[in-house]
């Protein structure tokens, strides 16, 4: 009997280690295929022409940053006030409805949001603002939609974690509710909000389909100078080109090298977020 019990424990431990095994395998295989193509030139080169074996990703990296920073900024502008409303003002049932609907949005297939962007946002931008429509601006909006739900729920969690006594103390001093929110609650929750932002940036960098469908992906990317420019992101480059890249060619290695860059960026960001959250708890 005891033997069976300890066997079971070992089997369960093996299952739990499986995720670690996958992460190891991912790291190993990405590095094996990607590192041969990684070089200073890969990160700082201005030209991406796989046909002539030019693999410079700087325009793509800058394009990614443009898209991600704008999207996170929009998501913050909408998400933080929503979280404040949910945690400080909303009646219980309203909060329940909003939280559930937010949770549903998290999972809406990104390809559907991309399709929406392509059919509605892109023509709208083309007709009212100008340019081709497929643009960084369109990328901002679809990506903001994608990261908004998580941002709202993480921010709301950290606002609600602020002890009630803080609110009471501030109100007792004669502060209005709004003053209490801006001067007491948001500062007290700031490290949680920061962690939510870092996680949002990580998720935004890794998002593929929705962004891919609305940013145009020019054949030879350039460093964007306006938000109406088309651009590429790290993820969209991999997705669009992997099927053209001959297996074993420098092009394929370059795509895996982009994978390595993505992996490092996102893992580093998640690491920072976990660190911020843990420090917050102590």
């Amino acid at each position: 009997m005891m033997k069976l019990e300890s066997l079971i424990e070992k089997a369960l431990f093996l299952s739990a280690s499986f995720s670690a095994l996958i992460v190891f395998l991912i790291t190993f295989f990405l590095i094996r295929e990607g590192v041969p193509a990684l070089s200073l030139n890969f990160l700082t080169g201005l030209e991406w022409r796989p046909g002539q074996e030019f693999f410079g990703t700087l325009p793509t990296i800058i394009g990614t940053l443009w898209v991600v920073i704008g999207a996170v900024f929009i998501a913050l502008l909408i998400g933080v006030p929503t979280a404040i409303y949910l945690s400080e003002f909303a009646p219980f049932w309203v909060r329940n409805i909003i939280k559930s609907s937010v949770e549903v949005i998290v999972g809406i297939p990104s390809v559907v949001i991309g399709f929406f962007g392509l059919m509605i946002l892109v023509p709208f931008i083309r007709n009212t603002i100008g340019g081709r429509g497929e643009s960084i601006l369109a990328g901002w909006i679809v990506l903001a939609i994608m990261i908004l739900p998580n941002l709202i729920s993480l921010t709301e969690d950290s606002l609600r974690a602020v002890p009630k006594s803080y609110r009471e103390a501030s109100l007792a001093l004669g502060a209005t509710q709004w003053q209490t929110i801006t001067k007491v609650i948001v500062p007290a929750a700031s490290s949680g909000i920061r962690a939510a932002i870092v996680l949002g940036v990580g998720r935004a960098i890794g998002e593929t389909m929705a962004v891919l469908m609305v940013i145009g992906n020019p054949e030879t990317p350039w460093i964007p100078t306006s938000i109406l420019d088309m651009t590429r992101t790290l993820t969209s480059t991999i997705a669009i080109e992997f099927s053209y890249a001959e297996w074993g060619s420098p092009h394929q290695h370059a795509l895996f090298a982009i994978g390595v860059v993505l992996f490092l960026l996102v893992t580093a960001l998640n690491f920072v977020a976990t660190f911020v959250i843990r420090r917050n708890k102590n």
Binding site: A16, M209, N270
Partner: protein, 281 residues
């Protein structure tokens, strides 16, 4: 401006933000429903696609169903087993902490990176080809950490007295887990698995790299057949079909995909509400 009128303005601004974040879901649902319902017919749902403009989406629907079922078959048991270990057995030491760390790392991994890995490791290295099996396994890598997280939470919320009572009756630890802890945590575990299924149904990048191109005209006949899926079909038609008929098919497929996704996630939320209510009693 005095603080009181400022307060009023600020509250209004808050409400605008709330409205903006709330309006997204209904707008997308109505947009897809309005544009997609016209093309839905028995024929569209049961015939196979021809080129971009003709035929239906039967192989894509079945492809998605196969991919997600297989993915759940791999991912859910493994995820639940990991969660049992982490919640019930894991001592608080280096090894457990690193297991947890890797689970989190996997959860944060961009899906395209998981797709690249599936392409290299499963499709080429293990020679599974671009196939149902390669796609389903890659999807399960993506689903695994979510299942672990949700199941662990659910197991941890089972009151300690349940375990104590069972152990006091002479049950072993494993008997306690199987007969007491798991049944009590089941609705929470179910929620976690279903939310993972919802994510897998809509996942595009992973299946693009590992399962198939999307316009496949046949329901997969074996684990090694290339497999079309609804998300890939939508992507292809939305970006490459430049005709009204093609785009209409993309709307129709989006509607079917959204219905599948909503079916799964609404049942997930219902499972959790049921669970919370029971905990409350």
């Amino acid at each position: 401006m005095n603080p009181v009128s400022r307060e009023k303005i600020m509250k209004r601004l808050l409400l605008i933000a709330v409205a903006l974040s709330l309006i997204i879901l209904p707008v997308i649902l109505i947009w897809v429903g309005y544009n997609g319902s016209g093309i839905i017919s028995i024929e569209f749902l049961t015939s196979r696609p021809r080129l971009f403009e003709y035929g239906g989406i039967y192989p894509q629907i079945m492809g998605s169903v196969y991919l997600v079922s297989l993915c759940t078959l791999f991912g859910a048991p493994l995820g639940i087993a990991s969660a049992i270990y982490l919640a019930e057995y894991a001592p608080d030491n280096r090894i457990t902490q690193s297991v947890r760390f890797f689970t989190e790392t996997l959860a944060g991994m961009p899906s395209i990176v998981i797709g690249l890995f599936g392409l290299e490791f499963l499709v080429f290295y293990l020679q599974l080809k671009t196939s149902l099996l390669a796609g389903a396994i890659s999807l399960s890598f993506m689903m695994l950490p979510w299942t672990i997280r949700a199941s662990e939470e659910a197991i941890k919320t089972v009151p300690q007295e349940y375990r104590a009572a069972s152990l006091a009756l002479g049950a072993t630890k494993w008997q306690t887990i199987v007969n007491v802890v798991i049944p009590a945590a089941m609705p929470g575990i179910l929620t976690g698995v279903l939310l993972g299924v919802g994510k897998a149904v809509g996942e595009t990048a992973v299946v693009w790299l590992t399962a198939g191109s999307g316009l496949e005209a046949f329901v997969p006949r074996s684990l090694s057949s290339p497999t079309g899926s609804l998300p890939m079909y939508i992507y292809l038609l939305a970006t490459q079909a430049h005709t009204v008929e093609g785009v209409q098919r993309a709307y129709g497929a989006s509607l079917v995909l959204l219905i599948m996704f909503l079916g799964v996630s609404v049942s997930a939320l219902m499972a959790r509400n049921y669970y919370l209510r029971r905990l409350g009693n």
